[in-house]
Amino acid sequence: MSAPVVVAGASMAGLRAAEQLRATGWTGPITLVGDEPHMPYNRPPLSKGVLAGHTPFESLAFRPRAAVTDVRWRLGTRVVAADLDRRIVELDNGEALPYGGLVVATGMRPRRLRCPGPAIGRHTVRTLADAQGLREALTRPGVRVVVVGAGFIGCEVAATAVTLGAAEVTVVDPLPLPMVGPLGELLATALLERHQRRGIRFALGTGVTGFHGSDHVTGVALSDGTALAADVVVESVGSLANTEWLDGNGLDLTDGVVTDDQLRVGGRPDVVAVGDVARFPNARYDGVPRRVEHWSIPTDTAKHAARVLAAHLRGAEAGLPPFAPLPTFWSDQHDFRLQSFGAPTLGKQDVRVLDGDPDGDVLVGYHTDGRLVGVVALGGPAATAAAARYRAELLQQPALTA
């Protein structure tokens, strides 16, 4: 029997890759190896509905398509090494697993703060277990919460903590505004005001230098010399790619796995990367390889990569145009939503209000050389619907020249 396609990482991107391989007509064996004990589950609710208690943990599991009922799941199993020349991955039980094709889908893990102080009481949010632990901590009466990092996850967790009735919620970030990296100043300012109106405090333009307490955290020391009392600390300071297992194969692993414009890794036709871990050039924009940690990416990358890999396994070329997804993300915070289409970060120097105003429902456009490259809506369903109306326009635009 031919060696299976091995999918390293059994979360959303891994599942979608397996499903898409089947959708292309590949009927050979597929093995998914994942170090979490669970079948793939949906992560966004971990910082929103699940943390708030509206959504039960059990409802997170993806429903795999019928076409993948015959794939082999090796859960609770970690891939520890790979030899791409010999086409073998090594598992944590010492087993060597030969592959005919390899899908890299190992995703990210939270970056941790290295400053001194106790570890107990400090949380991150990536896995089911993380969210369960954090929910338990946040639902104790009268807790004071410090969220370090005002990105997507930090802002969502802060909003959820207030909803849960935390006594104090403070968000700390060295940057002057929340989510200013992805959104730019105009919307980040609007976002700050909305959070403040709903009772969240901010310590901006300052970092964390250490944690107080002996076993359990009691406070957070800031670089401006002040301190914040804390019973619960959430570290949402970005993520690191799970690529150590690929070391020693001469790949560029500086930030995820670099791919070509067909999502192939290291010039090898039998290895593709999908999901958060893939650093791919987007032909829609400037062709610079970037990682994109948005929920739409596992599905988009899996579709393309599966066709490329399946064609190779059949001894053919897929002959697809370069990968060129239209990025999209959303974020739910309090009673409002952020919804984005396109690449707002490429147009932060020319930001215009397209509709509404920043105090209510607002739609903002981001431009490069006068051309719209991304939109972000902030507000209720009307704002989101307005953003959706620009999606077709963004899809039709020709590629930006580098």
Binding site: R16, P381, A388
Partner: protein, 62 residues
């Protein structure tokens, strides 16, 4: 084919509308409306819609 959307889960993201505009739409107030018994020829579209629903609220019953 039968399509079921768990309306307790659905948060009106509208991603399904992009994937399968023949089956799903957002009404004037921004809420989801859909065809519950679409034709078999729409299966690919609907599977795609089920994939891209952020709340994983769409179920296809054969």
């Amino acid at each position: 084919m039968k399509v079921v959307v768990d309306m307790n889960k659905c948060q009106d993201h509208g991603q399904c509308v992009f994937a399968a505009p023949d089956v799903f739409r957002l009404d004037d107030s921004g809420h989801l409306a859909y065809v519950a018994d679409p034709g078999e020829e729409l299966r690919d579209e609907i599977e795609e819609a089920a994939d891209v629903c952020p709340l994983q609220a769409i179920r296809i019953e054969d």
